[in-house]
Symmetry: C2
Subunit: 382 residues, 2 copies
């Protein structure tokens, strides 16, 4: 039985990237590594759509979120978290870890952050230092309008910190044009790499904030990474060298395709997935769905855990369940990274067969046909 | 765009096999190689369902067909070819190359060899030495009843030589139980390997014939290979060592699954493919379809070359066209080797989208739904 990985991280890694990662390890204090890091940094600027330096950390995405917190805040600082799901809540946990009490704007799962709420909050909380949010909230499949949120933050002299971990290189995003201050991301999503690397991009306004921050930091210190990069083309501590070798190949694939094309392609996969889900008689979960992952309500008479287990065990199709209070109540099909039209067809046809076996009233082929229509341009999707 | 290889050779190679092939080359005159060859030979006996030695040649499948000709015949010998397609015709070309004139029983493409025709031919041609045929004729997608053909050949004191190149490890086949005298096969079909290796299995009756044969042979000499294998666990000439290392892994996958399960699985894929093709409104080509490849008539108003080109260029799905006079008139979807249910779903959904784009009257999802029904056991298929 073949395996299909349609989870919102990790995502499948292309063979040419795996082969690059399998090459012999090079030392990280060499000219050869310097050239690699410099090249990957330039490539990442293209993907982030920015002129900023990109700082490369050997860590998971959560590590880069922690780095954003400790590099922007100081004891007593005011911070706002726009909490649209599990990863919004993670911002809160991180900030509280360092003894700060953020103002939390919490949304019911499935809803996006509303710019007017942020405006009202910042009016009530003047002198807020930073606003934390997600580009795409992986747990619910919603996309936030970070461009509008940044504008409102700036009007209140706050910076906007965006977790683009699941969104980067999938969801349409332009850091400089949208004037986003700090962005963090990780390797195992749209970047088509195994887990192990995280990336942070900080603009001028962001660096001003970083300069003032006094929370304790060593491994995560942005200034140390920028200095190493600029002066020595190095990372301050031993990096995951082979993953960087893979990154060079994966990023080259994205850049050769062109970021505009990447955004449109992922958007098409999302529309086909949503059309297929609705045609199969299921209900979408997110009010404002993102392009990188589609969250779907488990029909009330079905066991969500059983559905996932059947997809995995009988059909080899790995999709994600719900998190926290939505465990068993939603499932999620990711279309970020190295996923193409036929992965969506496979996921939908596998889902149809599982629903049929579970006694759900499903017309076989109906979801697949709706996705085919989107791919053929017969239907613009939902 | 991802690629899908559904041609009747080469076929996709599993990642674990590719990794085994990528290991360092070992020398072929070592104990280590001897153990490898011995192990692969034992594994192949299981796949051929025989107690015979299996002779391993570094060549394509055609090389092993030539080997069968030069090891069984002598100048002036009578031979019969049951010609059910392009590869049947290849037997004739090979035999004529060595100055013999075979008796050819030629069938229209799409038909299988009839045992009664062989019976009549052998009555008219007493003292025929050998009968040559295919287990599955790759060019037309038919399966021959080699068990019945062997029985008739033996009644006339002839041996049956079976080209099982596309059939082995897919089409149900039991060499010893069916009393087949000589069988040749190659690596890049049901055995899930790259091209480069060919295998021949000869029973006692076959060896008696080989002992009498005087056609010229050096590289192809069965006796040289058997002697090397038995006395030294070697091949007489340098073998494709890394492919043999891969063979050990691929054969282990087949044997762990169990040949009965392999046969049933491939049969299921064939039934799903045929059901999908017919539900999509297309017509099957073979009167007696085999399990390893499905030949389909190109609708008369469509351009077969354009259909293949669209499948490949726009959808990344590589299927095969027709050969010789059937070029452009049929196409062929293979389901041999490392192909699973979702490869069939991909091929059918891609085909539906291509037919739609070519203006053919197709209901999107219809072929996929029929295949899903077969996989779910709702429909036994055709």
């Amino acid at each position: 039985m073949k395996s299909f990985l349609l989870t919102p991280g990790p995502t499948p890694v292309p063979e040419e990237v795996l082969l690059a990662i399998a090459k012999p390890v090079i030392h990280h204090r060499t000219k050869e590594f310097g050239q690699l890091l410099e090249h990957v940094t330039e490539q990442l600027k293209n993907v982030f759509q920015t002129k900023n330096d990109i700082l490369t950390f050997t860590s998971s995405g959560t590590g880069s979120m922690e780095a954003c917190v400790v590099n922007t805040l100081s004891p007593g600082d005011k911070a706002v978290v726009l909490d649209t799901g599990n990863f919004g809540t993670r911002w809160t946990k991180l900030i509280k870890t360092y003894g700060l009490e953020p103002v939390i704007v919490k949304y019911p799962w499935g809803q996006a952050a509303r710019p007017e709420d942020l405006k009202r909050t910042l009016e009530a909380e003047p002198n807020t230092k930073a606003v934390f949010c997600q580009l795409t909230e992986t747990s619910t499949g919603v996309v936030n309008d970070v461009r509008a949120l940044a504008k409102i933050a700036h009007e209140a002299n706050a910076i906007l910190v965006v977790d683009a971990i699941s969104g980067l290189a999938g969801q349409r995003f332009y850091q400089d044009e949208w004037d986003i201050d700090i962005v963090c991301a990780s390797s195992q999503k749209g970047l088509m790499l195994p887990p192990g690397l995280a990336f942070v991009s900080v603009n001028e306004r962001g660096w001003q904030c970083v300069e003032q921050s006094t929370l304790p930091k060593f491994y995560w210190d942005f200034k140390t990474y920028r200095k190493s990069l600029r002066e020595k083309k190095e990372t301050p501590y031993t990096p995951a060298v082979t993953l960087l070798a893979g990154a060079q190949v994966a990023l080259n694939m994205l850049i050769t395709e062109g970021m505009e094309h990447v955004f449109s392609r992922v958007e098409l996969l999302a529309r086909a997935t949503r059309a297929g889900i609705e045609a199969a008689g299921l209900e979408l979960f997110a009010e404002c769905p993102c392009d990188v992952v589609t969250a779907v309500k488990v029909p009330s008479n079905l066991d969500g855990a059983d559905l996932l287990k059947r997809m995995q065990d009988k059909y080899g199709v790995k999709i994600a369940g719900g998190q926290a209070e939505y465990k068993g109540k939603i499932f999620r099909i990711a279309h970020m990274g190295y996923i193409d039209r036929f992965d969506i067809i496979v996921a939908l046809s596998g889902l149809e067969m599982v629903l049929f076996e579970m006694g759900y009233n499903i017309k076989l082929g109906s979801g697949v046909a709706a996705a085919q229509e989107v791919f053929l341009g017969k239907n613009t999707g939902v």
